[in-house]
Symmetry: C2
Subunit: 227 residues, 2 copies
């Protein structure tokens, strides 16, 4: 639990230009090639820094990787959080998030790819800690928000806040991957056809429809419809 730090002290003291160059090069390589196929010597060269210095900053390749991930998710969170206003209703918030995700798929795709990469880490790689750091914020944000909406009567009252927050996040997280990561892109194409990437409105409309109904109607309504 003890908040492990994944860089040496020298990295805190490093010149900002070096810090940035190293992180930029790392994020680029790791997001494109993945943890094990990325090459430290290449990253160092691209960052305009010696391998030796890199190893003054980080104990191992893995530590460096995790530091890059932390940086990337921080950036992603800023992009995403930036677009939603705390007063927004659930559906407005959802729409803004969807549109932000669609916009992120271009230039900022490397952050999403890195995020996707950590998704397969296992226990000994520190999956638990990372998950807590990366998902923690959205988990509690969504839970709180949905709980508030439930209490104020904006959405159905018979839902398990935590679970519904989980489903909500699941749809948006996968959407993010579906716009950026190769495998997920293919999957989306298989379901919806190649044109889906040229028709953002279709996705916005249908996903909102799906979410809106899921969050609005109580089980009682279902019963009522059944006969």
């Amino acid at each position: 639990m003890g908040e492990r730090v994944y860089h040496k002290e020298a990295f805190d003291r490093a010149k900002p230009e070096y810090r940035d160059a190293v992180l930029t090069a790392g994020i680029a390589e790791f997001s494109e090639l993945g943890l094990e196929k990325a090459n430290i010597n290449v990253i160092a060269k691209k960052a305009g820094v010696s391998v030796g210095l890199l190893y003054k900053y980080f104990e191992t390749k893995e530590d460096f990787f995790i530091t890059c991930v932390e940086e990337a998710t921080k950036t992603l969170e800023e992009i995403i959080d930036g677009v939603v206003n705390s007063d927004d209703k659930l559906l407005v918030r959802a729409e803004k998030l969807i549109r932000a995700i669609q916009a992120t798929s271009g230039a900022d795709s490397k952050y999403v790819k890195l995020y996707n990469e950590i998704t397969r880490l296992s226990g000994n790689d520190g999956a638990a800690e990372l998950a807590a750091k990366v998902e923690g914020l959205s988990a509690s944000t969504y839970r709180n928000f949905i709980e508030a909406a439930r209490k104020s009567g904006d959405i159905r009252s018979d839902c398990d806040t935590a679970m519904f927050a989980f489903f909500f996040d699941t749809l948006l997280m996968t959407l993010q991957f579906s716009y950026t990561c190769d495998y997920y892109r293919e999957r989306l194409k298989l379901f919806c056809g190649d044109d889906i990437f040229g028709d953002d409105e279709r996705m916005v409309k249908e996903l909102l429809k799906f979410i809106e109904s899921a969050f609005t109607f109580e089980h009682a309504d279902v019963k009522r419809l059944e006969h």
Copy 2:
């Protein structure tokens, strides 16, 4: 597009015992360690076969990996498809799928882990082909099924079949990962607490509630509620 084959002819002629041993060992190692950290020499030893023979069966490590993935997803599909009856209504089908997924998280977790592993492949690794092979079946099954349900009036009429099939699959796929892969398990815990793994009914109930509403209610209903 040309249906590449990922094994040499010798593999087709191999004794079933060797075939099975090799695939079993491969699936075990690849699912636990991932494509690049798994060790071919170790796999050969575990399978009780020489490295040389392995390379009579497969051109490269990557080809061997993909063959393992194909085998794993075939098995997974059988498990999953086996539980749903073609006459089932959408909700019944969903419930059976959720329960099958919860059951799979034990002994068969290695298949799911392998499936999760391919999720990060990119273009040059053959992501497109694999996606088509792996997701193709569920994509068309779900689409057809939902389309039928829509026409027969079982579910809302105003939905885009392809998109809703995509959302449906997204929820179930992620659920599968959430019960088996370390990172996704942590994520689920973060949203719903540690007890979620001891309370399968809670998941079944809430996810069904979510899906039921999403698939049942038309936009018109929303408008009606709003004033």
